[in-house]
């Protein structure tokens, strides 16, 4: 997969944002915006219409699952993958039910991230 994607990175930790940004750039994508809360992610999504969103789950003001639902309500074609430390089964199911198209657990490994993004693009990209 050589397609370069415009990515919105959502995470309340600046450390994770920086790490993810570096990994995404290394894979050949471009981070066009960063959000530190769920509400911010919704606004940023509308403003910058990214090709892909990486979404944390635990965040202040609105969690990533709710933000995923709201983004998809406005744009059903939005491609959102969860990048989180929560691996509990109910959390995974909630995220998939909300419409997440991939699930990556921390620590984020470049192979895992690449593989998940490739799958999302192959399966869902229109």
């Amino acid at each position: 997969m050589n397609q370069s994607l415009k990515v919105l990175v959502v995470d309340d930790s600046m450390i994770t944002i920086k790490k993810l940004e570096k990994l995404l750039v290394d894979i050949g994508h471009e981070v066009i915006q960063r959000s530190k809360t769920g509400l911010e992610a919704i606004t940023h999504y509308e403003e910058c219409t990214p090709d892909l969103v990486t979404m944390d789950i635990t965040m202040p003001d609105m969690d990533g699952i709710e933000a995923t639902k709201r983004i998809l309500a406005k744009d059903p074609d939005a491609l959102i993958i969860m990048v989180t430390s929560h691996g509990q089964e109910n959390m995974v199911m909630d995220a998939i039910d909300a419409g997440a198209k991939g699930y990556v657990l921390k620590p984020i490994r470049i192979e895992k991230l690449t593989d998940t993004i490739d799958k999302v693009i192959t399966r869902y990209s229109k």
């Binding site: 450390i15 691996g87 995974v92 199911m93 699930y103 657990l105 921390k106 620590p107």
Partner: protein
């Protein structure tokens, strides 16, 4: 003297534990002690704020559980909280055992024993990721089972399911519904003149026009070949005719890529008490047949 003796006892006890331990003042968040195992993994953090030194946060962490370790009177409640935490700074997972104690100098402190469980979590995480992948594939299968591959609208399986549902609702007297079967006029000639690839493109565009112009409660699907069906719940006959007419005009005015203008014929049937699955579809079929016989590009309702 007592203070120093107690202090060295603490030190030796904590140093005997093979896992990292740090102790922080619960009021100032200042790190007041780290054991040998902790120092070997990090730089000496004594005197720094725990949230800043360990988690690189600018203010106390939102997951900090000092409050859970104290009672309402701000006294130690002797509880131990055990939790797992991923540290974003060094990319490692820890199981933390947190408890408050009275420090020899009189301060109340929280100590955390941190067991590195990164390897264990990697295994657990692979399982959770496999779970997610399975859930995603199941979802995709569910969608593909009811989707027409070419046009990406519903297929006949879904249409029949919705049809049965509306039929039983209407038979219970809840509300009526209408179905329309529509067919692209002279579609065979598109395939004959331009080939099947162009024919497929016309079908895709046709489905798109219909999808964009029906109500959100309507179900659109491919009935077969160049035939489509729309099931409209809770609709009066006149409104169903209006909807069909609107779609007919949209198609008539649409400029299809390569083939230019195309028209469609519509057969409409509205549920009446006593209708069976077969009788309703048969009426819609007959109406469509009549629309074709009357010269195509029109709506006929029975």
């Amino acid at each position: 003297m007592k203070h120093t003796a107690e202090m060295s006892l603490f030190n030796s006890l904590f140093d005997a534990i093979p896992f990292g331990i740090y102790v922080a003042d619960i009021n100032t968040y200042e790190v007041i002690f780290v054991n040998k195992a902790f120092t070997s993994a990090t730089k000496n953090l004594v005197g720094k704020k725990c949230y800043k030194a360990i988690y690189h946060e600018e203010s106390p962490c939102h997951f900090c559980n000092i409050k859970q370790l104290m009672n309402d009177k701000n006294e130690i409640n002797n509880q131990t909280v055990i939790h797992e935490k991923f540290n974003e700074v060094n990319d490692r997972w820890y199981q933390l055992q947190d408890k408050c104690i009275g420090w020899p100098d009189g301060r109340i402190a929280k100590y955390s024993i941190a067991v590195d469980i990164t390897e264990l979590k990697e295994v657990q995480n692979s399982l959770a990721e496999a779970h997610a992948e399975l859930a995603l594939k199941t979802k995709m299968l569910e969608v593909s089972a009811i989707t027409d591959r070419l046009t990406q609208i519903y297929n006949r399986v879904k249409l029949e399911e919705v049809f049965d549902y509306e039929m039983s609702r209407s038979n219970r007297g809840e509300s009526g519904f209408s179905i329309m079967i529509l067919d692209i006029d002279k579609f065979k000639s598109v395939n004959d003149i331009y080939g099947h690839q162009v024919g497929d493109k016309v079908l895709i565009e046709f489905a798109k026009i219909l999808k964009q112009n029906i109500r959100s409660s309507d179900t659109l699907g491919r009935w077969g070949g160049e035939e489509f069906m729309i099931i409209s719940p809770a609709i009066e006959k006149d409104d169903a005719i209006k909807l069909a007419e609107k779609l007919r005009v949209k198609i008539d005015k649409y400029d299809f890529d390569t083939v230019g203008n195309k028209t469609a014929s519509f057969g409409l049937a509205t549920f009446t008490l006593g209708d069976t699955d077969d009788s309703l579809v048969e009426r819609a079929d007959k109406a469509l047949y009549q629309a074709k016989n009357n010269g195509r590009n029109q709506v006929v309702s029975f």
